[in-house]
Subunit: 372 residues, 2 copies
C-alpha cells in the first residue's frame, strides 16, 4: 500500500518543471509570483517557497528579491552565441586581435561570436552602440563581451544605459580591458584585462633606468580607469628611484596642441614622456618633431598597447605589449565559467604584459638601433 499522497511542494515542483521544459515558460520569462502560486495551489507561502528552492537548486530558475522569479538560461546542447559590444572596434587596434582570439577559442567549444559593426561613418557612435546592444538582446545571445565606451563626455551615461539594458535582459556580461565605474567603485561583472599598474611601472622603470630623471605622464581627457592604474604604476616606479613627482608631471591634454606641449617642455623641463597609449605617443612625437625636439636624444618617449604601427613610426616606439591573444582566450573561458557558476563573486582577471624596447626610449639593448 504505497502511500500515493505526494508532498504538496513536490507537486508544485513537478508541474513548474514541466511548464519550463515544455517551453511554456521560456528562458528569461518571469514565473508567477509566490502570492499567485499560493492562491492557485491553495497552499501556504512556505510550501510554495520550498518548491521554488528546489527548482533553484536544480538550476532551473533564478530568483531576485524585489523583482521576481525567472527561468534560467539553459545550458544548450553545445554551442552558445556571444555578442561583441566594442564601440571602438577597428579603431583602437588592440580589440581586433582580441576578438580574433575569442573567435578562435570559441570555435573549439562550438560557440559563435557575433561581430557588430559600430564604425560606420553614418550616424553617431552612441546611437549605433545602443542599437547593437538592443539587437543582441533581441537575438537572445548567451552572453556579451563589453568594452565600455571612453573618451566621450557622456561616456558614463551611455555605459550605464547599456549595462541597465543587459541587466534587465539578464544577459551575463564580461568586461574587456576596462571597467565603466569611476575608480574606487567596482561593477558586478567579471573583467578581463592587463595589469595596468604593473605596465605603468615597467615602462616608467625602463625610462628611469635609461637615465631619465624628470618624466611627464600624458593622457587625453575622459580616459578610462585603466589610465589611472597606469599612472599609479608610473608614480610607484618614480618612488623606487626616490624621485617625487611634481604637481604637473601628470598632464591631461591633447598631444596635438603644440602650444601646450611647448609650455610643458618649458616649465617642467622633462627628459621623457610616458604616454597613456601608443596613439597619444605617436601624435606627441609628431608635435615634438614640429617643435624641433629630437626623440630620443632630447626627449625619450614610451607608450602602451604595442599597436601594429608602433615599430613603423619615424622613431620606433617603446611600448608595452598587450597579450591580445591571451586576453581573448581568457575572456571566453571567463564567460563560460561565469555561466556555470553564477554565484561566484565578480573577479578582476589581470594578465601580465611585457615591455617592447625600441628606439624612442634611447635603449641601447634594443634590436632596431645601436647608437652606442
Amino acid at each position: 500500500m504505497s502511500n500515493n499522497v505526494k508532498p504538496k511542494y513536490q507537486k508544485i515542483v513537478f508541474e513548474l518543471q514541466k511548464s519550463i521544459t515544455s517551453g511554456e515558460y521560456k528562458a528569461g520569462d518571469r514565473l508567477p509570483s509566490e502570492a499567485d502560486l499560493v492562491e492557485s495551489y491553495s497552499t501556504s507561502r512556505l510550501t510554495v517557497q520550498r518548491a521554488m528552492k528546489e527548482l533553484q537548486h536544480l538550476g532551473l530558475i533564478e530568483r531576485r528579491a524585489g523583482s521576481g522569479t525567472f527561468v534560467r538560461r539553459m545550458d544548450q546542447a553545445k554551442g552558445h552565441s556571444f555578442g561583441l559590444l566594442i564601440p571602438g572596434l577597428g579603431e583602437t587596434e588592440i580589440f581586433e586581435p582580441i576578438c580574433q582570439a575569442m573567435a578562435c577559442a570559441g570555435r573549439v567549444g562550438g560557440h559563435a561570436l557575433l561581430w557588430g559593426d559600430t564604425t560606420q561613418t553614418t550616424g553617431n557612435r552612441e546611437q549605433q552602440t545602443k542599437e547593437l546592444c538592443e539587437y543582441y538582446i533581441s537575438q537572445a545571445v548567451s552572453g556579451i563581451f563589453f568594452a565600455p565606451v571612453e573618451l566621450m563626455p557622456n561616456k558614463d551615461e551611455i555605459n550605464r544605459w547599456i549595462i541597465n539594458s543587459l541587466d534587465k535582459a539578464r544577459i551575463p556580461v564580461v568586461l574587456l580591458d576596462r571597467c565603466f565605474s569611476p575608480y574606487p567603485q567596482r561593477s558586478r561583472y567579471d573583467l578581463v584585462g592587463i595589469d595596468n599598474r604593473r605596465a605603468g611601472f615597467i615602462v616608467t622603470d625602463h625610462l628611469l633606468r635609461h637615465g631619465c630623471e624628470r618624466l611627464v605622464f600624458l593622457a587625453v581627457p575622459y580616459s578610462a580607469p585603466t589610465v589611472d592604474a597606469r599612472i599609479a604604476g608610473f608614480r610607484e616606479a618614480l618612488e623606487t628611484f626616490s624621485i617625487s613627482a611634481g604637481k604637473d608631471w601628470i598632464h591631461i591634454g591633447e598631444p596635438d596642441d603644440a602650444v601646450a606641449v611647448r609650455e610643458t617642455l618649458d616649465t617642467i623641463r622633462p627628459d621623457g614622456f610616458v604616454c597613456a597609449n601608443d596613439m597619444t605617443a605617436a601624435r606627441l612625437m609628431r608635435t615634438l618633431e614640429q617643435l624641433g625636439v629630437a626623440v630620443p636624444d632630447q626627449i625619450r618617449i614610451a607608450g602602451f598597447d604595442d599597436v601594429k604601427y608602433a615599430g613603423l613610426l619615424g622613431v620606433p616606439l617603446t611600448t608595452v605589449h598587450q597579450p591580445c591573444r591571451e586576453i581573448g582566450e581568457v575572456a571566453i573561458w571567463t564567460m563560460l565559467d561565469r555561466m556555470a557558476h553564477p554565484a561566484l563573486p565578480a573577479r578582476d582577471i589581470l594578465l601580465s604584459c611585457s615591455l617592447v624596447a625600441r628606439r624612442s626610449c634611447g635603449s641601447h639593448t634594443c634590436h632596431e638601433s645601436s647608437t652606442s
Copy 2:
C-alpha cells in the same frame, strides 16, 4: 556599506560546515538533532531545518527521518587531492576561513584538501614548510595552494626553493593572496586575492573624507608585495584630494617601537595612520595609548583584513574586509580550470573588498555592534 547582518541560518550552516571539515565530526558521525540545535542556537526549528537543507544540498550531510542527521562520507574515488601550503596558517587569521571555504567548495566536487601543520613550536618554520612541501610531492597531490612566505629576511630564497620543487614535480600551483616575486615581476602561476590597490584607496579615501589631511602609512619590514599595492592606492587617494605625500609618509618600521612612533608623530605631525594590516594597527594603537595619544580624537587609525578581533579592540578598528569565503571558492575553481586548460596564461584574479567603518576612524555613521 558594511552588511554585517548575516542570516541566522547561514551562521548555523557555516559553523556546522566548519565542524565537519575540521574533522570534529567525522564521516558517519551523527550530528546533534534539530531539537538540540534549536536550543543551542536559541532559534526556531524552521531555521535549523533550513540550515540542514543547505548542508544537504551541499552534499555534506545525509538525513534519515526517524534516525538522525549524519555526515556523509565523501567519494574519495573520483576527486582530486590538493595540498595547502600556508606557512602562517593559524596565525594570520585570514587564511583559516579561506581554507574552510576551499574545503567546502572542494568537497562538493569530491575533492580532498590536505591541511599541513606549520605552526608547531618545535623546529623553525622554514624547515617545516619545506618538509610539508616534500610531503605533498611524495603524496602526488593534484595541485597545491601556496601562500608565499613573508616577513622573513630570506623569504625569497625559501619561496624560490618551494616553487622549484613543485615545478620539478610538475604540480600545478595557485597562489593565495600574494605573489612571491618582487613587484614588477610576475610569476607563471595564477594568483587569487583581493584588489589591494583598490583597498588602499578606499580606506585612505575614507580617512580623508573624515577630515584627515596628513596621513602616514605604516608597515613592518619584509612585507609582501600586497603592501606595495596598498601603498599605491594610498598615494592615489591622497592625489585625488590634491595632497602630495611627504617623503616620510610611508613609514617602514615596528609599531611597537615607541621611540620611533614618537619621532614620527613629532616630525610629520600626522592626524591619521593607515596600517598595512590589522595586526600592525592593533600594536600601533597600544603604543599610542602608552604615549598618551587619543584614538580617534588626536589620531585616526585604519587597517586591513578585518580579522576577528578588529571590532573587539579597546577602540574598534576601521578596516577593509577580506572576502575570505569568496577567495576560497574562487581559488578552487581556478585550480580546476587550470588543470583543465594548462595552456592559458597566468592570471591575477582579484576580488573586491569593502570598508568596515568603526570607531578608530572617528566615523559617527558607523554601527560597531557588529560582533554578536
